[in-house]
Amino acid sequence: MKKSIILLFLISQFCFSQNYKSIMVTYKAVLESIKIDPTNVNQNDLFTDINKSASSKSFILKANSNGFVFEEELIMEEDDNMKRVSKIANILFSINNYSYDKERDKLFTITNNLNVISNHSYEWDLTSETKKIDNYTCYKATYIYNFITTKGKEVNRLITAWYTPDISFSYGPNGYMGLPGLILELEYDKTKLVAKEIQFFKEDIKIDFPKNREITEEEYLKRIKIN
């Protein structure tokens, strides 16, 4: 009898968790602090502020049937200087705001009031390694992100994602997507983004997709005259 009740409870929980159209996920950023050189007086204030900003960052992923938006959870009490520092900190830890238009299958990096069209065809290597994150069984997947810096150096950055097939959105933090379930943890270099709270909604929640001008990355770099 007890086993039947427990089984019924688990099934009802499973059913409820599948009976949703939108989700909102809060990711906490776990970032490696910048080592401050005490002899470097000029930049130490900036780096101290960057470490302070990095220690309290959260990001929100909102997803519905139209796609998703991933952006930093803004701290209202921050002054203009800390907002600028926060922006610099995000760049140093390679974290951006993103939006994904599901109908057009387009991923955008949102920067400087522009929607920069970004690549989202990730060649994930799925493994059978698992771990529990907040009672969800998560599977490990890896991806090698290749790019060339402006100095011509070739970089191969290992991206490690832990996703759960129990949540049927193939999205995740920082623009990473395409896995058979929601990414609850993402790690690369000095950055880790971990899901701390997940809210499920039965209806399509309203998401403000940024309506900035869309440009290619090449156009964006031409504007800054960096290439």
Binding site: R84, I88, T109, F147, Y220, I226
Partner: protein
């Protein structure tokens, strides 16, 4: 009376029309305008600061990230003026 008024108006109208066809030679002098280019010190400063930050922390940024860093540093420099 009406014919007189019409004639007066017609006379004025045609005299203006006649004046429109006159060609006058107008002397023009070209004035030299000096264009002064003001260099924005924050532009170079932001590129220099980005190079320092990238070098100091051995950062490996994509061109997009580096561009965004330069713009963010420019904003910081601009705010400090």
């Amino acid at each position: 009376m009406k014919k007189l008024m019409f004639s007066a108006v017609a006379l004025v109208a045609f005299s203006f029309a006649g004046m429109a066809n006159e060609v006058k030679e107008i002397e023009t002098t070209k004035s030299k305008e000096e264009v002064v280019v003001v260099e924005d010190e924050c532009v170079q400063a932001s590129f220099d600061a980005a190079a320092v930050v990238i070098g100091m922390f051995a950062l490996e940024l994509t061109p997009l990230q580096e561009g965004t860093l330069i713009l963010a540093l420019y904003d910081a420099c601009d705010a400090g003026r």
